[in-house]
């Protein structure tokens, strides 16, 4: 496959088509509007549907409708738009339909700004909408990885009959990098007859498919929640992904960081090594399920003095890192969230100050 230079947002749109997603509904918002722009041109070329909804609330339910019919469907948005879709996401999770949501995060809260941010970590991993549901959340750190994750997201959504979220920051959407597209997915949702309202005659079944999230009987609702919980436990067993960087050294500091921020950390780590300071990185590629065990193990290294959560948010992932380390080491935070991505120099300064603090004790 030929290597092409593509903007993250456009590559995400192309990846959806190559994954067999022929339904894309969205409402424009910076910094991801190029996905819609790209697909408004490409979807008609492949006999797919591009539809700009009247609002993100409407788009959320269009996604629900298409998913209920057994179609591969995706939307993309940015932070405030995802908030508006969160009600529908909860319904889709409750009704066990597969769908892919992409959040190219911008600064918040409220309208915030349009520059890169990671401030929707808790919204993506802990809820956003109401009720006991989880999203499988994948966090790309390059345009190539964004493409791969989008293409993997559809089969995963179908495997779990659950919405998947790709959580990228504004830079992932706006940057251009070389991309090699994986082979097109030739598959259809193989299990769609389990839920899709595609007609009993059509699927040759005598079982009605009813897509719903309303269960008034408390015992039935409890059973439904237990069923959902079992799926999320299965995700924790089967879907955790992370990258380790320099963890085979006698590192003094362990950084946990994801997305664009993790790349800045890698450069900082390389620069610090030239000064004789050894730092390792765990980069979660899935934020839910979170690589707890890997972080705990990495934090058990004898040489390590402190664990740092470095994020473009005010200590959101810090809660998960802290939970993973289980008190073995101090856990500290560094980050910014106005849209100015911290530089490698700023990261290095922060690492040095914490290392100094904990080397004395």
């Amino acid at each position: 496959m030929r290597k092409v230079l593509m903007k993250g947002n456009e590559a995400i749109g192309e990846a959806a088509i190559r994954a067999g997603c022929l339904n894309y509904f969205a409402y424009p918002i910076t910094p991801q509007s190029e996905v819609a722009e790209y697909l408004s041109k490409r979807m008609p070329e492949v006999n797919g549907v591009f539809l700009q909804g009247e609002s993100e609330v409407a788009v959320g339910y269009m996604i629900f409708g298409a998913a209920a019919c057994g179609a591969r469907v995706m939307t993309t948005s940015s932070s405030p738009g995802i908030s508006l879709m969160s009600e529908a996401i909860s319904y889709i999770a409750g009704a066990e339909c597969p769908a892919v949501f992409v959040n190219i995060m911008r600064g918040g809260p409220g309208l915030g700004g349009i520059l890169p941010s990671q401030a929707d970590y808790l919204q993506a991993t802990k809820g956003g909408g109401h009720g006991d549901y989880r999203l499988l959340v994948m966090a790309p750190a390059s345009v190539q990885e964004a493409v791969e994750m989008v293409m993997q997201a559809f089969p995963l959504a179908e495997k779990y009959r659950n919405p998947i979220m790709i959580l990228g920051d504004g830079l992932i959407g706006q940057m251009m990098e070389p991309v090699v597209f994986p082979d097109d997915l030739k598959t259809e949702p193989g299990n769609k007859n389990d839920w899709a309202t595609n007609g009993m005659d059509f699927r040759g079944s005598d079982k009605r498919n009813l897509v719903r999230s309303l269960y008034l009987d408390p015992e039935v609702l409890n059973a439904q929640n237990l069923k959902l919980k079992a799926k999320y436990e299965q995700m924790k067993r089967e879907e955790i992904r992370y990258e380790s960087y320099k963890t085979d050294t006698d590192y003094q500091v362990l950084i946990v960081s994801y997305g664009t921020m993790s790349r800045v950390c890698k450069t900082a780590i390389d620069n610090l090594l030239e000064e004789g300071i050894r730092v390792a990185l765990i980069r979660p590629q899935t934020l839910f399920p979170f690589p707890e065990a890997a972080i705990r193990q990495a934090a058990s290294a004898k040489s390590c003095r402190v664990v740092m959560s470095i994020e473009m948010s005010m200590g959101q992932m810090l809660e998960d890192v802290d939970r993973s380390v289980q008190g073995r080491l101090p856990v500290e935070w560094y980050g910014k969230c106005g849209g100015d991505v911290p530089t490698p120099e700023e990261v290095a300064d922060s690492v040095k100050s914490f290392l100094q603090k904990y080397s004395k004790e």
Binding site: L5, P31, M175, E177, P178, V264, T267, V341, T343, E345
Partner: protein
Amino acid sequence: MQSEVMFAGFGGQGILLSAKILAHAGMEQGFEVGWIPSYGPEMRGGTAYCTVVIADKPIGSPIIRNPKHLVAMNRPSLEKFAPVVKPGGVILINSSLISIGSNRPDVDELAIPVNDIATAAGSLKSANIVALAAFVARSGIVDNEILRECIREEFAAKAKLIPLNMKAFDEGVKAAQKK
């Protein structure tokens, strides 16, 4: 090896496009590349800047505060970014619009009347290509011929613009050699 080039100027001067063509040429030559725009609330007539990173290993931080080189298409860009360029880099100054120098004795300063050359070549709109060609000829950051092919490819859908841009390319290279 990693080099960073900042392209800066007014919105509408083709800053993002010339940066994209350079990134494309870097990729075709087998390098790792990144094209990182400033996507603040810029608009036509406002300032626009964009960084291209070219490296022989995977690119870490896409956030570059101190680029190795600068292509400054207007005066505010030169004033803002000349002080942050790394020593030893190239600073290309569009002397059609900029009457001052970079005040950086530790860099390779190249003043070229980019707008005038583009106008003489057929259209002011090709000023970004003149600047790109001159910068690449001087810095040697990518192969000139690969760059030429990438310019041709960029305009493939608007073939009637190819001769104009090829002329702009040649004139840009020539201007860099004269200095």
